[in-house]
Amino acid sequence: MVKEFPLIIIGGGPAGLTAGIYAGRSQLKTLIIAEQPGGTIGYAHRVQNFPGFPEIGGLELANRMVEHLQKWPVELLIARVGQIIKKDDGFLVTTDQNQEYRAEVLLLALGTEKRKLGLPNEDRFLGRGLSYCALCDGQFFKNKTVAVGGGGDAAVTMALYLAEMTNKVFLISLQPELNCSPSWHQAVKNQKKIELICDNQVTELIGSENLSGIRLKNPYQQQTELPIDGLFVEIGSAPSTTLTEPLNLATDSEGFIKIKANGRTSQSGIWAAGDLTSGSNKLRQAITAAAEGAMAADDIYRYFKQKG
C-alpha cells in the first residue's frame, strides 16, 4: 500500500530539516526523504557563520540539525528519490528501492551537486590523487604537497584544513583574487604553508597510476607543470536537474529554481527551498537554506489551513 502524506520534503540538508521542524511544530503529517540527512554542510571543515555556534564542525552542525528534527513527529526516510510523477491529486514519489509515497504537496530541498573540472581523465584519477572531499581524504596526504582548485569560502576552508597536515598547499583560483570572506582571506595570509596562485586554472591532470602533477593554463614561476601528490577540487556547485526537469519548473539561466518569497515555484503544489533555488541572492549558505525552509514550510501550513 502506498503511504500518503500531505507534505513530502525531498532533501535533508538545512533547508529540508528546518522545513521539517516547522512542519512538525505545525502538526502537519510530513515525510522527509533524504539521501544524506544533514546535507552537504556535513562536509564543511569549520562553520563560523551559523548563529549560536561561533565555530562548529560541519558534521556536528548537520548531526545537531537531524537530532533537532527528531524531537518532532516527522518521518525521516534515508533513501534516494528515483522519480517524481505529477498526478491529478498530488504527486507520486518513488525511491530507487521502489518504495512509493503519495503527497498532496512537495517541498524540494535537494541542494546542489559539486561541480567537476570537466577534464577528460578526471574519473580515472578520482581516488588516485584527485578528491572532492578534504575531510575524507586529507589524511592520505600527510606531509605531502597538494593543490586546491577554487577560490570561494569552501575552497579556502578546504585549503586551511589541508595545511594542518600537509607540507604545502597550492590554492589555485580562477579569479584575480580570492572570492571568500575577508576573515578567511586573512587566515590564508597567516598560513605560511598555503601558496596562492590566482588568475589561473588546472587544464590537465598528469600521472600514470596516481596523480603526480597538474598543468596550469598560465605559467607559475615560469612553469606550467606543477608536481603535486593530490588535487582537491572545490569550484562551486550546480543544481541537480535529473529529478526536477520533468516537473517543468521555471529556473534562472544557471538552472536554479525560481521561487517567490514564500517558497512557491512556478508549478502549483510544489515549493522549493535551499541551495537549489535562486532565493538567496546567490549566497547559498546553511543559514539562508534554513531560512528558505522555514518560510516555505510556514506557507505550506497556511495553504493547508486555508484549504481546510
Binding site: 539521501e35 544524506q36 556535513g42 562536509y43 558534521l59 534515508i78 534516494r80 530507487d96 528501492q97 578520482l126 581516488g127 588516485r128 590523487g129 578528491s131 572531499c133 575531510l135 575524507c136 581524504d137 589524511q139 592520505f140 597510476e209 596516481n210 593530490g230
Partner: protein
C-alpha cells in the same frame, strides 16, 4: 557478516577465507562512509552466506591503505582467491555494490 579488522593479519584472513571478500576502507570521520553504513548492513544480511565483508579503518591500518593504493574513502575492493577483482570509490548505490559483489561471487564459483 561484517568483520571489523582488529589485530588480525589481513593476509591470514584472506588465506583462511574461501569466500570472496569485500574490503570496505573507511574512517569514522568520513561522512560518505557513514552514509554507507546502512547499505553495508543490508548487503551483509543479503549476502551473508556468499561473501565476507571486512571493514578496514584507514586510521588504524595505514599500511593496508598504502598496500592497496587507497587514496580516498570510502573505497570498496572485492578480492577473489586473494586477488583484487574490482574496486569502487566514493559513496555508492546499493545496486552498484551488488553488481560488484555478484561479479565476485560468480568469479569465485567460476
Amino acid at each position: 557478516m561484517i568483520t571489523p579488522l582488529n589485530n588480525q593479519d589481513f593476509e591470514a584472513l584472506i588465506k583462511e577465507n574461501h569466500q570472496p571478500i569485500l574490503a570496505d576502507f573507511w574512517a569514522p570521520w568520513c561522512r560518505p562512509c557513514q552514509m554507507m553504513l546502512p547499505v553495508i548492513d543490508q548487503i551483509a544480511t543479503e549476502y551473508a552466506d556468499q561473501i565476507k565483508i571486512v571493514k578496514i579503518d584507514i586510521g588504524e591500518h595505514e599500511d593496508l591503505a598504502e598496500k592497496f593504493n587507497v587514496l580516498s574513502i570510502p573505497t570498496f575492493i572485492t578480492l577473489v582467491h586473494g586477488q583484487e577483482d574490482q574496486r569502487l570509490i566514493g559513496q555508492q548505490t546499493p545496486q552498484n555494490l551488488k553488481k560488484m559483489l555478484i561479479a565476485a561471487i560468480e568469479k569465485a564459483n567460476g
